[in-house]
Symmetry: C2
Subunit: 415 residues, 2 copies
């Protein structure tokens, strides 16, 4: 089963947005064992869109289109796909009702153009949009090909894909797939890939696909077989081998589990309360913790102590330490973390202080960050040198703070 | 002058990487007034790559290819492009020398496969790579078309583009371009487009391109003329008209300026210090403020007060208010913002409290958020109902808090 992706929107061709939909859908198709041979982006132009759809259908079994389902005159995907399939657009009453409800709930007036979003290709399978107003659809053509139309905003598209499109595609695929993620952190991308290059070289079934995100490397191990059970059996020894090689760098093997979820889970497991004291990251660490629903069980408060004055007032960092070592120093990080833990009577604390840039000097290089963890009444500080711009230095600091906290809890409490 | 982009690499089609090269090059071509009509991604496959190049050249004046210039057997772009142009690959001595120097400088041994990177299509213009080992090239075909080959890693590609490709393309373009951004917030996408539909309908030169990001709509106005000065003159009245229609919803007309930069600029302008008290956003608002280099001039500290206890302790929210109205209420938001401002002796404060989900009940619908601003010794609270998952509700809360703060400062201080 071969797939082509077409992303529709002049904003893509103008470079106004990065096309993350293509990467998302490519990864999902790979999980389903479907081969994506080509991805195309075209603008809001009827002729070029039609040509792209016809080309795609001539080469592939399925064409997935994203974008161009909105209320404006520029949104042409449904009309064009319907034309290629030889279908008319007809109003779908259920979609019309959903649009009405959506605006009512948002307490907003409905512009007339919004009703256009309920006009769907005749005989198509309607894909409800729980996260926006534009429904999608699946058009099955007379010659057994398929067009799948979804909205462009990633949040809406992903919701629709998970809810309706993935189950639809899964039914088309006779093979059964099983995949497992091995997520690691605290180790660089090229080092991680080098450590398993022999496995990647020899891969066949299962396959091993590495993905990198800020401070993390994820390996997806995927096997195909006649049943999920058989595929699971093929995946198991490879996952075991990866866990064996990366040891405590593996933070989860759960697909959807994030590093902050692992940390919150550990805090809950050992009944620990957390507080953070953030300087350069200015709330990013605490926000990551609060990404996890139910974080309030372990998190009551946190401090952004950007100025020296705030570090003294809320964290009891001594004037002489700040004067002698500066705000970005091992000593200050240690006093910050102790002050936060003791002052709030928390079991566990994290402190982050560093130079995120862009300005720096000899003495204060951009990327120098101290991260402190206070666990089991002991403070531990690590010095990091991150590469990148202001935003990336701060993201890497948060990522490594989460990882350091995870390791500290494990080494103190997991027996 | 029309352009097509071809991104080469199986890692793109597997969804392992997000294709940021396409967005970068699209934006640069738009700046140069070159129309990008299509972007294609293909894998490391000779036949499909050749087909994509031939298709691209048949439709467009210039085909820009990224990726597939490396040392491995999978890297096929030069061979394939040379074949299409009817050229041989010959060793370029200057490139060979540069590769040698690069490895020497990095103190690394040269694998034999690396020399392949010095083999270039005969008669092509060589594009040196200051950030890596693979040079690029420009092939001018017999029928006046052009292929531009650059490496895939964004950092190397951008360096090469700035240094060699942009100047090359600029010479091909007789017209000069000028564009200006009008960024608005506090108004929905479809409403915003409706308000200027007549302008978009009538657009010719300048063009008006709308695009959306979380809570914001940006309009890019671009004109072409014989000189930049003339293009500027064409852009000016349209920008004026947009500002006139959207009034205080326009937060900037600077290309690179973000909403948080505007807010920090206003705080600095009027000499105001800021503090935040965040509940559901748990640090995200403060982190946005600290995105801005030099934010420390206006921000000294902030609180994440997740629990009721923390709201009482740091913000002096009264027990009876929390009991009677709950943590997510207009009254609590007001006490939070006052407590933060007064307790830290700050000029301006923001407080955010809401239900980000995923759990909710009748009384506590997900997406209900109260945002309070304290400016000029007056507290103002607004109630919002956001649609989306936990992450999106929090992002929209931060976006709207920044906007509310901006408006409050302007209405109190800008005379």
């Amino acid at each position: 089963m071969t797939v082509e992706l077409i992303s529709v929107g002049t904003e893509i061709l103008m470079g106004n947005i990065v096309n993350t939909n293509a990467a998302y859908l490519s990864a999902k198709c790979a999980q389903l064992g479907m081969s994506v041979y080509r991805e195309t982006s075209v603008g809001d132009n009827k002729e070029r869109l039609e040509e792209a759809i016809r080309d795609g259908l001539s080469r592939s079994d399925i064409v997935i289109l994203t974008g161009g389902l909105g209320p404006t005159k520029d949104d042409l995907t449904k009309e064009t796909a319907a034309k290629v399939a030889g279908k008319k657009l007809v109003t779908d009453q259920a979609s019309k009702k959903r649009i009405q409800d959506y605006f009512q709930k948002m307490n907003r007036e409905i512009a007339d153009s919004n009703w256009k979003q309920a006009d769907m290709p005749e005989g198509s399978i309607i894909l409800p949009n729980k996260r926006g107003t534009a429904p999608g659809c699946i058009i099955e053509t007379a010659d057994g090909k398929r067009m799948i139309l979804m909205p462009g905003p990633p949040y809406e598209m992903q919701g629709m894909f998970e809810q309706s499109v993935y189950p639809y595609l899964e039914k088309l695929q006779p093979k059964r797939f099983y995949s497992k993620m091995v997520k690691i952190c605290g180790i660089g991308e090229s080092m991680a890939e080098k450590m398993v290059s022999d496995l990647i070289e020899a891969q066949d079934n299962p396959t091993i696909a590495p993905y990198c995100k800020t401070g993390e490397v994820h390996f997806r191990v995927t096997a195909s077989a006649d049943s999920v059970e058989e595929a699971k059996k093929l995946v198991k020894p490879i996952v075991k081998e990866l866990k064996n090689r990366f040891k405590e760098n593996v933070f989860t093997t759960e697909e959807e589990e994030t590093l902050e979820q692992v940390v919150v889970k550990l805090l809950k497991k050992y009944g620990l309360s957390l507080v953070a004291a953030e300087s350069c990251t200015a709330g990013m660490f605490t926000a990551r913790i609060a990404n996890v629903p139910g974080a309030s069980d372990v998190l009551s408060e946190s401090f952004v102590t950007y100025s020296n004055k705030a570090k003294r007032k809320y964290l009891d960092v001594s004037k002489s330490t700040l004067k002698k070592y500066g705000a970005v120093s091992e000593k200050t990080a240690k006093e910050m973390v102790k002050g936060a833990a003791i002052g709030t009577d928390s079991d566990v604390a994290v402190a982050i202080t560093g130079f995120a840039g862009p300005d720096s000097d000899e003495e204060h290089p951009v990327g120098l960050v101290y991260i402190a963890c206070y666990v089991n009444e002991k403070a531990q500080v690590e010095e990091f040198h991150f590469n990148g711009d202001r935003q990336r230095v701060r993201e890497l600091a948060v990522e490594n703070a989460l990882d350091l906290l995870r390791r500290c809890i494990l080494s103190n409490y997991a027996k």
